[in-house]
Amino acid sequence: MIAIHDLHKAFKGHEVLKGIDLTVKKGETVVIIGPSGSGKTTFLRCINLLEFPDSGSIQIGDRALTFQPGIRHRSKEVTAFRQRTGMVFQGYNLFPHRTALENVMEGQIVVLKRPKEEAREIAMDLLRKVGLEAHADKYPHQLSGGQEQRVGIARAMAMNPDVILFDEPTSALDPELVGEVLKVMKDLANEGMTMIVVTHEMRFAREVADRVIFMDDGRIVEQGTPEDIFDCAQNQRTRQFLRRLTEA
């Protein structure tokens, strides 16, 4: 379903991704953990081409792109590829000049060219699903952070992506609002959505993840089931990271 091979990315000579290989099956939920600066965000951004990898390849569904330094893909290819991947941002990045409903309709209308009425119905269904039916006509600044992030999730889902990428979706939230967002994500995972989630919510990882990946210094150091990683990590660095995380 998703096959990423030998992905490299450097910023001005500073190598951030040093050859990442990852395959994700349809319906799988993969949680990525790792210390700050290990390249988690960069990796997600490479998957939906907000950053262009220097080399390697990414296949999502039946679309595959191979990267080489200096070779730029045609923008048509890029946007088509991005449509297949949804992204949920740490800072939500909702469109402030659009209501919750319009945020979820926007991509459907502009990119998928769905008729307005159909887009509205789909958007309404999605808002219902994330528990925000009553807030459909509010603007982002009228919503709480947790509500904003749930709109962000609905916005990503509206495009029917093959996979949704989450970059620390709850780390900007007040603690009491984290649960409502994780709940929506858990429901999504249970429905069979393919998800790659960068998060430090260990309970979520334990309960929802099919697989946990530990990244450090631009590489995947270790991966396995949540039990494998959390209870009997093989790698020294993984253990160290987890110990510090539970102490904090």
């Binding site: 990045n93 469109f95 402030p96 991509g107 990119v111 982002p140």
Partner: protein, 227 residues
């Protein structure tokens, strides 16, 4: 009594000239302001887009244009257009010369305001737009521009009010605007002090009305700007 005679005389002078001045304002100053502001906005808009374009030549042309028109006095620009161009065979009527001069000038300043507004929009907005598969053009017009316009409205409002006053320079190239009319009557009646005071008063009315309109517009668009 001398004082009351003089006061009556001034009062009549002001009354007599009020309508001619206001009329010149309505017939020349206001249309000149509106036309040049709209043309200048359109020009500024495309110049801003050009300056942000990835096509280097386009960006360079835009930058050159802004450099020239922001770096030279408006009065000199008007003189070149009206008094200078005829010597190379291009004769413009005064109003047209004023429209061209002011539009080019407004365009240069507006482009900087619009460019700054576009650049002030958080990068996350571009990324959110790209993440749902929008092209650069779609992201620009659907997501960035509507927010940038809200940011640009207060400074553009200030440019507009400045323009109302700057149009008085058109008098120097014989456009019969409010100020030109004031000069004419002042010369006829030997009363420069009161005439120019009256002209200032009418400009003040125009600008005050615009100030109120600007404040209302800002209140209307202020609601959903990204924080």
């Amino acid at each position: 009594m001398f004082f009351s005679d003089r006061a009556t005389q001034v009062w009549h002078l002001l009354l007599d000239s009020f309508w001619p001045l206001l009329k010149a304002g309505i017939v020349f100053t206001i249309p000149l302001t509106l036309i040049t502001f709209i043309l200048g906005l359109i020009l500024g808009f495309f110049t801003a887009i050009a300056r942000l374009s990835k096509f280097k030549a386009l960006a360079a042309i835009a930058r050159f244009y802004v450099w020239i028109f922001r770096g030279t006095p408006l009065l000199v620009q008007l003189f070149i257009l009206y008094y200078g161009l005829p010597s190379i065979g291009i004769l413009l009527n005064p109003f047209l010369a004023a429209v061209i001069g002011f539009s080019l000038n407004v365009g240069a300043y507006a482009s900087e305001i619009i460019r700054a507004a576009i650049q002030s929009i958080d990068r996350g907005q571009w990324e959110a737009a790209y993440a749902i598969g929008m092209t650069k053009r779609q992201a620009m017009w659907r997501i960035i521009m509507p927010q940038a316009v809200r940011v640009a409205i207060p400074p553009l409002g200030n440019s507009f009010i400045a323009l109302v006053k700057d149009t008085s320079l058109a008098a120097t190239i014989t456009v019969g605007d409010l100020f030109r009319k004031a000069q004419e009557i002042a010369a006829e009646r030997y009363e420069p002090f009161w005439l120019y005071i009256e002209a200032a008063f009418i400009y003040l009315i125009f600008c005050s009305v615009l100030n109120v309109m600007q404040a209302q517009m800002e209140k209307r668009v202020d609601r959903h700007v990204a924080k």
